[in-house]
Symmetry: C2
Subunit: 134 residues, 2 copies
Amino acid sequence: MTLQTASLPAKAKELLDAANFVVVATSNTDGSPQTSVLWATYDGNELLLSTLQGRKKETNWLRDPRTSVLILDKDNPYGYIEVRGTVSMTTENGPELIERLSQIYTGQTYTGDDGTDNVRVVVRVTPSRVIQRY
Amino acid sequence: MTLQTASLPAKAKELLDAANFVVVATSNTDGSPQTSVLWATYDGNELLLSTLQGRKKETNWLRDPRTSVLILDKDNPYGYIEVRGTVSMTTENGPELIERLSQIYTGQTYTGDDGTDNVRVVVRVTPSRVIQRY
């Protein structure tokens, strides 16, 4: 099987640098879609998301790594970029990623995991198809 | 099979009356998720979306009517409501629905279908599960 890959457009990076939220879709056990709002950033051509071990999203991705990430544009509700791709996950640098995202989106140190046993997961999305609506 | 149903919360209706956009997820032929931004309103307990015959969303729903509709909140990017449910579609009152949505979201008459052969579809989502994040 050849994995189809696509480039992350400059506009997607611009939207994420400007702290625009994303809506992420995963597939539940029965194949039905599930969505949630997340922070996101990127590393080269790949999107980076943060989640927690045991969350619905994480267990869905472990079973089916295909996902759709819709990057919103707070300055233009009719503009958006959909990035379809495949997820790979690691706990390595999990705390560093949530801190990086917190700085982008809130300008402050992340405290949401303080005093918890939360295990932060780095979710890396390799784009297979990008649909830009502007 | 018993269809699980859920109520549309008052907050969801309030968000839609205030012209908040929704992100809709469907399942592609291969089972991978697909997302897009739409207008939405409601009829009692059901969400109403408008699409066109032949659009990816419509062909996906004809094959698999399960969907997830995430209602955004422009006043609070950390708040949202996810409505999972099942879609039924009809062309009846298709033009009336897109006009109703246009009035809510733009305050103007809808002209996007003028001079086209577009066939407007009314997409009715019966909620099976509602997840409110506030």
